[in-house]
């Protein structure tokens, strides 16, 4: 019996090795103190506090939706990077590259994973909002973070929208045509919006089809080559970049505003 207890498991041996300790900073945690240290000493895990009130770890309270939103963002970043290896954002190649992605590339479900994760993310973010609303977690001192969350949700939908164009099929260009046509009607800065015709010098309209906000968005008078490139850059770089900044603020504020909400 005593011999058995003295025998160390592989996990224990590993946890006490120099290599493990140099990376993780603490051994396999056994005591309360070590377990707290495991959270505090890790750059990834220290997003969390070391200790939480009991209700905060219940799926019934949080629905895991906030964490899943972040997980889906990471998931989409990884699958997105893999897709970028094969995809060229030009009218000539875009569509055939997408076909290649499913038919030629090993593990040909990356596009599916990316697309369904994107749809799921929109849904999960909405459900996260529902949870936060139903628990009244936007109330002081968390007002600002709710606002950040609303902007993150808007960006999620915009990301999904810009990605919709990239396969360059009928579904893509017409959905984006319908969507971007709304920008025509932007007051003052859309060429078919109220007030746009007032912005004129004599007979010369300042806001016309070749200079309005829709032109800026799609890089042309209709959805074409320039739109594809523009949406590609917005989708892959611009919005994710801004979103990461907002996410940093969102997570940081959760901690600063007193951690997860709960009854007093």
């Amino acid at each position: 019996m005593a011999e058995k207890q003295n025998k160390k498991s592989i996990l224990q041996t590993l946890g006490e090795s120099q290599v493990w300790k140099s990376i993780i900073r603490s051994g396999v945690p056994h005591t309360r103190r070590q377990r707290m240290h495991a959270i505090l000493g890790s750059v990834f895990l220290h997003l969390h506090p070391a200790r939480l009130p009991k209700h905060a770890v219940k799926v019934g309270y949080t629905w895991c939706m906030g964490g899943l939103s972040f997980f889906l963002f990471v998931n989409l970043t990884i699958t997105g990077i893999l897709l970028m290896f094969y995809y060229r954002p030009t009218v000539e190649y875009a569509y055939t590259d997408v076909i290649d992605l499913t038919e030629q590339v090993p593990l040909g479900i990356m596009r599916e994973l990316h697309r369904w994760a994107a749809h799921a993310m929109v849904l999960v973010v909405w459900l996260h909002m529902l949870r936060v609303f139903m628990t009244g977690s936007y109330k002081p001192p968390r007002e600002f973070n709710w606002g950040v969350g609303v902007l993150l949700m808007t960006m999620t939908m915009f990301l999904s929208f810009t990605g919709y164009l990239l396969p360059w099929d009928q579904l893509a260009i017409w959905a984006v045509t319908v969507g971007s046509n709304m920008a025509r009607a932007h007051p003052f800065i859309g060429h078919e919006g109220p007030g746009a015709s007032l912005l004129a010098i004599g007979d010369i309209n300042l806001v016309h089809i070749g200079s309005d906000v829709r032109f800026a968005l799609i890089g042309g008078r209709f959805v074409g080559e320039a739109t594809l490139l523009r949406f590609y850059v917005i989708h892959c770089i611009a919005v994710p970049f801004i979103m990461m900044i907002f996410m940093a603020v969102h997570f940081w504020r959760i901690r600063k505003d007193g951690g997860i909400s709960g009854p007093l």
Binding site: R35, A56, V57, L127, M134, W174, L198
Partner: protein
């Protein structure tokens, strides 16, 4: 029998009927006042938030989709890869709304008995994140990954014919999460449906924490303590956003005409469209004169109506009905509540003006693209 059900569903899903049903049902399901609460109790609507209610509703939803997948018309719409998220949406939104309300009812009862909400634990009795939270996160992550991989293997991402700017599909639809906005285009011009209302959605959502001065219900599920707020949110979110998405996906066919879910998308369906502007009602039908040449004079009735709705109505309300509210909320909160509330309410109002009076625009100045 099945045919009768299908015809009934087709009939009920017409926007005029389904939207009206939801508009009537929402305040009873989420009663903002005692009056609605009494109706809720009498009709037994609260039973939806019990476990049995959940099961029954799930069976109904499943039956609807099961019949749908077997129906030759509806299955065409349902089988589109990008429409699967809507099926998921219907299930998940119902389930999580149910879960929230279910827990809220439990807490409401506890609070009535003078107990703390069920989420409450002794503040000194905390759990460690390692391993209590980390392993839950890990399991959630694995389960969701499995779900995504299975979904990806089973359903191929949609890819239609190569883009062709010369061939416009009929109907052309925006991505599903924007179909609510596209549906609003039926009633409002793009500058309102596509720019103003989305902007108001975002700003209105962001303003919620600053407009809601009710300190109760922070950090636990509850309904009674926050019933007005929850009702407004649910009406805006479920009826004016999610339902319009379902409507736009399942019930809108060629030329954006209404088709019941089990109805064949006949592109030649004839729909009477005789929408009339308010100015025409006033000058031509009522006064019997032609439309005046002066634009402002022509649209004067519309300007008065919109002006009264947006500017005079809040003042009247502030002096009479909502006097106490103005005092409690202060002028800035009151004005923002009025602005966001009235703009939100303008959507159903406009819908009913369209359905009942065939009214197209209150103010119609196509010369400046200014139509309301």
């Amino acid at each position: 029998m099945l045919e009768t059900i299908k015809h009934t569903v087709d009939y009920l899903s017409a926007p005029t009927i389904s939207f009206s049903i939801l508009t009537v049902v929402t305040p009873i399901l989420f009663p903002p006042t005692d009056w609605f609460d009494n109706i809720n109790r009498k009709l037994g609507f609260y039973l939806l938030w019990t476990k049995k209610g959940c099961a029954v509703a799930m069976v109904v939803i499943t039956a609807f989709f099961a019949i749908g997948y077997m129906d030759k018309n509806f299955s065409v719409i349902l089988m589109k890869g990008d429409n699967f998220p809507i099926v998921l949406m219907v299930y998940s939104i119902f389930f999580f709304t149910w879960l929230g309300m279910h827990k809220a009812y439990i807490n409401d009862e506890r609070i009535e008995q003078g107990l703390k909400p069920s989420e409450y634990n002794d503040p000194d009795d905390k759990v460690l994140v390692w391993p209590d939270l980390v392993y839950i996160e890990f399991i959630a992550l694995i389960l969701f990954t499995v779900f995504l991989v299975v979904w990806s293997i089973l359903v191929a991402a949609p890819l239609e014919e190569p883009a062709n700017p010369a061939a416009t599909p009929n109907p052309s639809k925006a991505p599903w999460y924007f179909l609510g906005l596209q549906e609003m285009l039926v009633y409002y011009d793009p500058w309102i449906a596509g720019i103003l209302l989305p902007l108001f959605c975002i700003l209105g959502l962001m303003a919620i924490p600053y407009m809601d001065i009710n300190k109760k219900g922070d950090g636990y599920y509850s309904f009674k303590e926050r019933r007005v707020g929850i009702f407004i949110f649910m009406y805006g979110w479920i009826v004016l956003w999610l339902f319009l998405i379902v409507l736009g996906t399942f019930f809108r066919g060629p030329n954006w005409n209404f088709y019941g879910p089990f109805e064949y998308w006949d592109a030649h369906k004839v729909v009477a469209l005789n929408n009339v502007n308010l100015s025409e009602y006033f000058w031509v039908k009522l006064l019997g004169t032609g439309l005046p040449d002066n634009i402002l004079l022509r649209e004067v009735v519309g300007f008065i109506m919109v002006g009264v709705y947006l500017f005079i109505l809040p003042i009247i309300l502030a002096k009479t009905w909502l006097k106490d509210m103005l005092e409690a909320y202060g002028p800035i909160r009151f004005v923002s509540l009025m602005v966001f509330g009235l703009v939100m309410l303008s959507l159903p109002l406009k819908m009913y003006f369209r359905w009942i009076f065939n009214l197209k625009y209150f103010i119609a100045i196509p010369e400046f693209f200014f139509n309301i």
